[in-house]
Point group: C2
DNA sequence: GCGACTTCTGAACGATTGTTCATACGTCGA
DNA sequence: TCGACGTATGAACAATCGTTCAGAAGTCGC
């Protein structure tokens, strides 16, 4: 394999996180990479909601909502509080909350950050 | 569709970003959801590197690296500077840079944030 | 110009992911 | 206890994504 700046490559490699750390990071970002889950999480930023209200707020079916919540729950991103036959979900991961806050702040702050339709996306 | 707390649902819906904004956000997170791209971006946090050095630093093939860079370039996340037959890439999106910095800071800060293997992941 | 080299691109394969339908579980009211 | 309701789960399908192989385009040294 060819190298141009071996020193810099070695320095960068040393600064890289562990393989498992990178995998965990990618895992967290994967959870945020789905519009449905993203809407659910944003909805949960301020309020605790039950499944049917979450489905209505996010504009998706209750089954899809339950599946999405199942994944988020498995990754400890949301927590559930049961009251009778209702299930109230809330955001449980401070890490994800900060990522969401940062992302939403950038959304409100400027509209130049992301690509424009038909402009650069492949 | 059944609703438990219609007021709260309406309030949450009003606070949700636009559909296209959510899609753009999910798009950005999708770029960070792949371990290979994540390693490339972290490598680019501090240094400008050519394709072969990036491939070596991230531990992936040059073709795979080029494909990943192509996607990142299409989304304006990285920019390329050409010098002869070499292509030097650098991180171009301040938004993504802050997300990466925040994520890496959390990695260094605590190891309790994410799930443990075989503990909660489905 | 010719050959070596770096990067880029296209196509095909395999794998993973999200969605949907249908159904099962647990809870409340009569 | 029985039916209705909210939620959860399983399976199957479609779609998307990443990787790989092979080859093309452009550049430098001779």
């Amino acid at each position: 394999m060819r190298l141009v700046d071996a020193d810099r490559v070695a320095a960068v490699q040393q600064g890289l996180p562990t393989e498992s750390a990178v995998a965990d990071l990618a895992d967290v970002f994967s959870l945020l990479a789905d519009p449905g889950r993203l809407r659910l999480l944003v909805a949960l930023l301020g309020a605790e909601l039950c499944v049917c209200d979450l489905a209505a707020a996010a504009g998706m079916g209750e089954s899809a909502t339950s599946h999405a919540l199942r994944i988020l729950r498995a990754h400890r991103v949301v927590s559930v509080r049961r009251s009778g036959r209702m299930a109230y979900y809330s955001l449980a991961d401070a890490h994800v909350r900060m990522l969401l806050d940062l992302a939403l702040a950038h959304l409100a702050h400027s509209e130049l950050v992301h690509v424009h339709p038909g402009d650069s996306d492949e």
